[in-house]
Symmetry: C2
Subunit: 97 residues, 2 copies
DNA sequence: TTAGTTCTTGTCAAATATTGTCTAAATCTA
DNA sequence: TAGATTTAGACAATATTTGACAAGAACTAA
């Protein structure tokens, strides 16, 4: 499940209008619409607010959001998988210390 | 081995001056110095040129460069590892198609 | 030491990219 | 159709990245 899909489906489950979510996020409906369509990425602050507004576990949303940044960095690259694995190793080796 | 270290050690192995590498990359020595110190990230074009100038396997350099973008995205995050893994799965599942 | 060179650092403007907002059009619903 | 909701386009405002310059620090050789 992609971030934009999750946000949209959660909003629908809760029967909220774009306008209602927008006001909780302090922005306008157009932006929320774009976020739900994947045309715009939410900022980190917006992620925080969205988690509250839509009652989604914050770390779950954050993971998705970060994973999409990672995905965007490497998508379409021959060496995408290798590159990700190198980063993963680095993170893991740092956590040990 | 981090990107900046690789670039510096390769340059030293080949006994090149910053100024020489800089001219091959069409920039000034200050930028190369910063890249070798990790203060600046090379652009993708610079990566391509550096691979040639320093005689480094291009895909190896590219992997390192991409992996550092990924690393920067998630470093310091609680959920860093999970986020990377999600991205990895997504890439992998796309490659199957 | 001094002169010459290599490397490093700081700063700043230019170039890029991202974001927020407005307007109007499209879509939906009753 | 009218009224509400959602979407799309355009563009200004912001933020980030980049390149270039200049001055300083570190090193070398005589």
């Amino acid at each position: 499940m992609i971030l934009s899909e999750l946000l949209k489906s959660k909003r629908e489950t809760k029967n909220l209008l774009l306008r209602e979510v927008a006001s909780m996020i302090d922005t306008d409906t157009a932006l929320i619409s774009k976020i739900e369509k994947g045309d715009r990425k939410p900022t980190r602050e917006q992620i925080d607010k969205l988690a509250i507004a839509l009652d989604i576990e914050h770390s779950k949303l954050l993971k998705l959001w970060l994973s999409e940044k990672v995905y965007e960095d490497v998508k379409g690259e021959e060496v995408a998988i290798d590159a990700i694995k190198i980063a993963l190793k680095r993170i893991k080796s740092e956590e040990k210390n």
